[in-house]
């Protein structure tokens, strides 16, 4: 066999391992070569088998690792052996495991840290923590909980929480049961009977991977102090509310936006807003103090108060318009609510008081003062004027009698005398202002007084009066003349304003005034008289002034009528007010205190006695004391004409001396006429006391220009036998002397 042939066979056998080895004769010269090749072929077969086993082993291991990683094994067709070896999956997986282990190590470190953190939180948290298993058995608890419930941590583990915490007195609902029922964390508060402390309990579930609750963390916080503080705050709030309720002022509190957050009952009454309605509303809507022409605009005031540099503000008087439109006068204080000197206000507090009554009183006092000051002047003028009139009237009386043969002159003098008496009436009116002009009061039947005075006033006019007077109208203790004058003035006013005539309603009723009444009257029983006309009415701007002296809208008025009414009613402790609407009419309201006493039987005498017209001549010695020379002269002449012999004294001292001398000389005076007021000298009152000492039966007549002096009204109490107001006519003088002297004769 040739060498080429052997090499070809050997190559074929290597490619096909199952083929038989080289077959060659032992004696062939190439037999050693063939043996060598056969050895190599055998070795090659073993190596190939080993390689295959190794590859299979590697694939097996790779698959094993892939399973660990969590995936499926490698399919042999996916990667051939060479690619497999080249890819090096074991290397890749090993490298990846390094990363996985590294990550695990880091995770463990973090877990350990987290555990430490939880442990620290567990012990450092302010509340007691209890960890329970699903059967309410204690797994762990922190020190705070052990302190709170006085238990030892290591002894309670494994015990039921009801044995350790509730001690058999289970609170309802149980926070653990509530958490189980709702499936989520619950928070509640309860007082534990074991120590009577108030706890807030949070019960939170811990779930496993299957969402099953395996643990419960219970957090106990002692809120006893907090609850006590809350109760104290609530009590304080209640006390504040009671305080606000019991003070007499209206109080409104706002937030920083100026919206009402609180108001007391007085504020509700004054504003007409209930707290419910006012809550959250702008304060200016509730406290409506905005008014035209007034300087206090609510919003201006408020924007100032709620600014940072605001301070306390006081408005002494401003109108408040209530929800129903009623207007009141209030005094208002506004203060910002600040926590510190420089802090912005958190709101404002408004305190206000109804001063309507006070203001009405003030107005009354002002009016009274005006009239009082007029009174001082009027009193003096009236007195002097009456003295002058006494001289004028006396002289005219004398002249009239002397000229009785000359009818023309006598008529002129009679008219002059009448005019003088009308002048006397005017001074009489002035005197009602005078301070000394106290009313001379008697218990009077008010119904009769009203009717008679009114009827007397409208007789002869175009108006008629309709009376609506309660039958049981209380009697009053008044100066009949003065009250008659008031009613007269009011009816005359009605007559003047109702130019076309018409009806004046006069109503009267009993009323009780209590202490809360806005009318400035002392509480008590009153009669109220309404005089209602249907005339022109009074302009709004005039209504506050109609009682002022000298204020008039009438062309011929002197502006005294209503101020006299006012003055008279004031002196009777009463009140006169007015309501009027232009074009509709006017109503005057008179209030007079009812008399405490019953009406005496004889209070029915006529209010307008006729004056004597006859001249009575007489005889006897008369002493006249007056500081006015004019009066002394005319008295002397008049008395002489009447048949008396007259002596004159200028003051009390002189009169006493003259009287005393006359008595000593055995020719005493039959009567003395004394002037009540002697400026700078002894007056009639004091002189009379002396004269009565000399002769207790002395007949003394008092005369004065102050016709309304109380002494004149109650002359007998001061020892006088008669009274004659200045000026007086000759008839009046003769009449009084006749009366006094006839008493003396008796």
């Amino acid at each position: 066999m040739s060498l080429e042939r052997i090499i070809q066979d050997a190559k074929r056998i290597k490619e096909n391992p199952s083929s038989a080895l080289l077959q060659i004769g032992a004696d062939d010269e190439l037999a050693p070569v063939a043996d060598f090749l056969n050895e190599l072929l055998q070795e090659n077969r073993v190596l190939r088998q080993n390689n295959e086993a190794s590859i299979n082993y590697i694939r097996q291991k790779i698959d094993q690792l892939l399973l660990v990683i969590g995936t499926i094994p490698l399919r042999p067709e996916e990667l051939d052996d060479a690619t497999l070896i080249n890819l090096d999956p074991i290397g890749i997986i090993a490298e990846s495991f390094t990363q996985i282990l590294e990550h695990l190590r880091q995770t463990n470190e973090q877990l350990e840290l987290a555990m430490d953190e939880i442990k620290a939180i567990f012990e450092s948290v302010g509340g007691g923590i209890l960890v329970l298993d699903a059967d309410k058995k204690i797994v762990s608890c922190n020190h705070k909980l052990q302190e709170m419930f006085d238990v030892q941590g290591n002894q309670v583990c494994g015990l039921s929480c009801s044995e350790v915490i509730c001690l058999g007195q289970k609170i309802k609902p149980c926070p653990f049961d509530e958490m189980l029922r709702t499936g989520q964390a619950v928070s509640m508060s309860a007082i534990y009977p074991r120590n009577m402390l108030h706890y807030n309990i949070v019960s939170a579930p811990v779930r496993d991977r299957d969402d099953k609750i395996v643990r419960t963390v219970m957090l106990y916080t002692d809120i006893t102090e907090l609850m006590e503080a809350k109760e104290a705050v609530a009590n304080e709030k209640e006390r504040l509310s009671l305080t606000l309720k019991s003070i007499a002022e209206g109080v409104v509190v706002t937030n920083s936006a100026g919206d009402v957050t609180m108001m007391n009952e007085v504020a509700e009454t004054l504003t007409g807003w209930s707290l419910g309605e006012a809550m959250g509303k702008g304060v200016c809507q509730v406290i409506n103090i905005q008014k035209e022409r007034k300087p206090h605009s609510c919003s201006d005031t408020f924007s100032d108060i709620l600014s940072k540099c605001s301070t306390f503000k006081h408005i002494s008087q401003t109108p408040l318009i209530a929800k129903d439109g009623e207007e009141k006068i209030i005094a208002l204080s506004i203060a910002p609510i600040k926590s510190g000197e420089n802090s912005a206000p958190a709101g404002a507090i408004l305190v206000f008081r109804d001063i309507t009554q006070e203001k009405n009183m003030e107005m009354e006092i002002m009016r009274t003062k005006k009239i009082e000051s007029l009174g001082v002047l009027a009193g003096g003028i009236a007195h002097d004027f009456n003295n002058l009139l006494t001289s004028i009237v006396g002289n005219i009386s004398l002249a009239r009698i002397m000229a009785k043969d000359n009818t023309k002159i006598a008529t002129l003098l009679a008219e002059t005398e009448n005019a003088s008496f009308r002048a006397k009436n005017l001074t009489g009116q002035l005197l009602t202002f005078a301070k000394g002009g106290a009313p001379v009061t008697t218990i009077t039947c008010s119904k009769k007084l009203i009717k008679e005075s009114a009827q007397f006033s409208f007789s002869g006019s175009k108006i008629k009066c309709l009376f609506n007077i309660s039958d049981n109208l209380w009697p009053v203790e008044v100066d009949e003349g003065q009250i008659g004058q008031v009613i007269h003035n009011l009816v005359i006013n009605a007559d003047h304003t109702m130019k076309e005539g018409g009806t004046v309603d006069i109503c009267a009723e009993n009323i009780l005034i209590d202490k809360n009444d806005a009318r400035s009257l002392t509480p008590g029983k009153y009669i109220k008289i309404d005089v209602i006309d249907r005339g022109e009415g009074i302009e709004k701007q005039h209504i506050d002034k109609i009682f002022d002296p000298y204020f008039t809208t009438k062309e011929k008025g002197h502006g005294l009528g209503l101020s006299i009414c006012y003055s008279i009613i004031k002196k009777h402790a009463g009140l006169v007010t007015v309501e009027s609407e232009k074009g509709v009419g006017t109503t005057f309201f008179l209030y007079l205190p009812a008399a405490d006493q019953q009406l005496p039987e004889l209070a029915t005498q006529s209010l307008h006695p006729e004056k004597g017209e006859e001249i009575f001549l007489g005889h006897g010695r008369i002493l006249v004391m007056d500081d006015e020379e004019l009066i002394r002269d005319v008295s002397s002449q008049t008395l002489s004409y009447l048949g008396y012999s007259v002596e004159l004294a200028a003051d009390g001292q002189e009169a006493i001396e003259m009287y005393s001398l006359a008595v000593n000389q055995g020719k005493p005076f039959d009567a003395v006429i004394v002037d009540l007021t002697i400026p700078g000298g002894m007056g009639g009152k004091e002189a009379t006391e002396h004269l009565l000492q000399i002769n207790p039966k002395a007949k003394i007549v008092v005369s004065s220009g102050y016709a309304n002096d109380p002494i004149m009204a109650n002359f007998r109490e001061h020892g006088f036998s008669g009274v004659i107001p200045k000026p007086f006519s000759m008839e009046k003088l003769s009449d009084i002397l006749k009366t006094v002297l006839s008493e003396s004769d008796a």
């Binding site: 969590g70 995936t71 499926i72 996916e78 997986i93 590294e102 995770t107």
Partner: protein, 91 residues
């Protein structure tokens, strides 16, 4: 915070048409080789695959290795993005 950091570079591997575990092995190989850059947030591994098994095995393995994984279904394949783990990426 993000503005201070560089936008990570993408390492794209398109494994469409290939199945697990070869896909997984390739992904793991890339995560091993780019470990430092990905952990520092400088690179992100972006794998395109249409093998459903791979969208379970790759994220599980990557998470075990401490990475954060996002799987998004696209029109005809899944995109798996593996990046550095941060507390935010856990959300």
């Amino acid at each position: 915070m993000m503005s201070d950091q560089k936008i990570p570079e993408n390492i794209d591997i398109d494994m469409r048409g290939q199945v697990c575990p070869a896909t997984l092995l390739v992904a793991m190989d890339k995560l091993n080789k780019h470990r430092d850059a990905i952990k520092k947030g400088l690179e992100e591994l972006c794998i395109k695959t249409d093998n459903r098994e791979a969208i379970t095995t790759i994220p599980t393995t990557a998470r075990n290795m401490g990475y954060s994984v996002n799987v998004t279904q696209m029109d005809s394949f899944y995109q798996i993005v593996v990046r550095n783990f941060t507390p935010e990426s856990k959300k």
